[in-house]
């Protein structure tokens, strides 16, 4: 059902929720992460606390939560990696800007064949938050002449702790002021994420992750930067199954 709704309308309110006290704690950790940095200014002049996993124990712990894992499996599958794991804070005066995720792979592949990724938005603020989605807009080439006014826009209210799933490529914008969101974006492991979490996280943070968390952070990607690393990965791949073609040669 989740996948079907994502394919057709581009969004779905899912059953995964966080308790109010957890949201309060997470919101505080997002503020701290934004102050500690680094952070990025995103569409609509939002503050993106991009190093949230480095600063927030609560967010780190979520990566190995069974309920979140089940949701992602259902929505996209188990063979995925994190592209983003961040807190997003909207400004006091909202400047909603249409945006979409995974636009580059979407340009090359029509949505009917391929789903590059999904994004999860969870409202952490006590008052919740709202965003607007252009229904089914993931089916339109983002590089083409898409007149946002011509597509049906759906305003979605997300209460504190509730989660909204967005299909990769769907157009959306954040509406409410001074709202704190938790944002996870997942992508296929052969598509570039926004950051390589297995490298970006400090050793002690990474070691606190369980199996799924490490996998989501891309521990299995390899991506060597030396001959030694490359050979070590090939040797390990022969013993395990990392899904890469092995023994090829021309």
């Amino acid at each position: 059902m989740v996948r079907a709704l994502l394919r057709t309308q581009g969004y779905v309110a899912c059953g995964w929720t966080l308790a109010p006290e957890c949201c309060t704690r997470l919101a505080e950790e997002v503020r701290h992460a934004a102050e500690a940095g680094p952070h990025v200014v995103g569409p609509g002049v939002v503050t993106r606390a991009i190093a949230l996993l480095e600063h927030s124990d609560s967010t780190l712990g979520l990566l190995d939560e069974e309920s979140l894992g089940t949701l992602v499996d259902e929505a996209l599958g188990s063979d995925v990696i994190l592209s983003r794991a961040e807190g997003v804070i909207t400004p006091a005066t909202p400047r909603p800007v249409w945006q979409s995720d995974f636009g580059k792979p979407r340009r090359n592949l029509p949505a009917r064949f391929f789903r590059p990724g999904i994004t999860l938005w969870t409202a952490l603020s006590a008052q919740g938050g709202s965003l607007e989605v252009l229904r089914a807009s993931q089916h339109f080439n983002p590089a083409g002449a898409l007149d946002e006014a011509e597509l049906p826009a759906v305003r979605l209210t997300v209460r504190q702790g509730e989660c909204l799933l967005l299909e990769g490529g769907v157009r959306y914008r954040l509406l409410t002021p001074q709202t704190i969101w938790l944002c996870f974006a997942f992508v296929r492991p052969w598509i570039k994420p926004e950051v390589l979490f297995f490298s970006a996280l400090s050793q002690n943070r990474f070691e606190r992750l369980g199996r799924r968390g490490r996998r989501w952070c891309g521990a299995q990607l390899g991506l060597p930067i030396s001959v030694e690393e490359f050979l070590a990965i090939e040797a390990e791949a022969l013993e395990g199954d990392f899904g890469r073609a092995k023994g090829s040669g021309i």
Binding site: P105, W190, L221, G222, F230, L238, G249, I250
Partner: protein, 266 residues
């Protein structure tokens, strides 16, 4: 002078094109000598048995950082116009390596076997018309049926392994053909085309350089942007750096991610 349009049409229709004499003789000689030297270096360093056991015998890794001839290949980039036409101007290297088929190597000998590259992409995308990348194989020796000319099954790009009976000798005799080309020529093909190195029944190695280019939003097999030294990078031009993935590399730290965002590279 490469007929780019004709080459692109051939790749689209049958999955491959053979482009004769794209490399000057001096570069071919330099590349071949460099590959021989690097292979000897790797054997001395890692051991022939180890390289064979992990299926890496005959593959020279990370050549972009291992000698002037490969820098020259990046700077001359003879196939780039075809690549950019079909993949877009952000295409970059997924794999950049030397491939040496020794005497006795090639199809029928470990680790060579029929395959298509990026098979995992094919499984997920499921669209036969999708071109994820382009394999550019530059031959450094004359190749033919005797010394391991690449076997190709035309028009099999995008087919699953159960749809291409590579083990059926009768089918392969009718459907497959083996590349014959002079040193300095290239075969450029859809990586999803079923292919394999031919059996080398001669006394000499068959050498080639492989540049597998992919779309700008795909992850490479090796992080060439970071595996090539600053010294080499200082000698390369902007287009070479693009080919290495230098300008589109995925951040490895949050600080890098912040910088990339500020530069508009994310």
């Amino acid at each position: 002078m490469i007929d780019v349009r004709a080459a692109c049409e051939a790749i689209t229709a049958q999955g491959y094109v053979i482009v004769p004499n794209v490399l000057p003789t001096s570069l071919v000689t330099s590349l071949a000598d460099a590959l021989d030297a690097l292979r000897a270096e790797d054997v001395a360093r890692y051991g022939e048995e180890y390289l064979y056991r992990i299926g890496q015998e005959g593959f020279v890794i990370n050549v972009g950082d291992r000698g002037e001839p490969f820098e020259r290949l990046l700077l001359e980039r003879p196939a780039l116009e075809i690549v950019d036409t079909l993949l877009g101007s952000g295409a970059f290297l997924y794999l950049f390596q030397g491939v040496i088929v020794p005497p006795g190597g090639g199809v029928g000998a470990y680790p060579w076997k029929w395959h298509c590259d990026l098979y995992h992409v094919l499984l997920e995308v499921g669209d036969r018309t999708f071109l994820p990348g382009l394999n550019c194989l530059f031959y450094l020796d004359d190749v033919d049926t005797r010394n391991g000319g690449t076997w190709i099954v035309p028009a099999t790009q995008g087919l699953l392994d159960e749809e291409v009976p590579c083990g059926d000798a009768d089918f392969m005799q009718r459907a497959a053909f083996q590349v014959e080309a002079s040193a300095g020529s290239a075969v450029i093909f859809n990586p999803l085309l079923w292919h394999c190195a031919g059996a080398n029944t001669t006394e000499k190695s068959r050498r080639a350089v492989k540049m597998l280019m992919v779309r700008e939003w795909m992850l490479p097999q090796m992080d060439y942007a970071r595996s090539v030294s600053d010294e080499v990078i200082s000698r390369l031009d902007e287009e070479s750096l693009r080919i290495l993935g230098h300008r589109s590399r995925v951040p490895r730290t949050f600080a890098e991610m912040q910088s990339a965002s500020a530069l508009g590279e994310s």
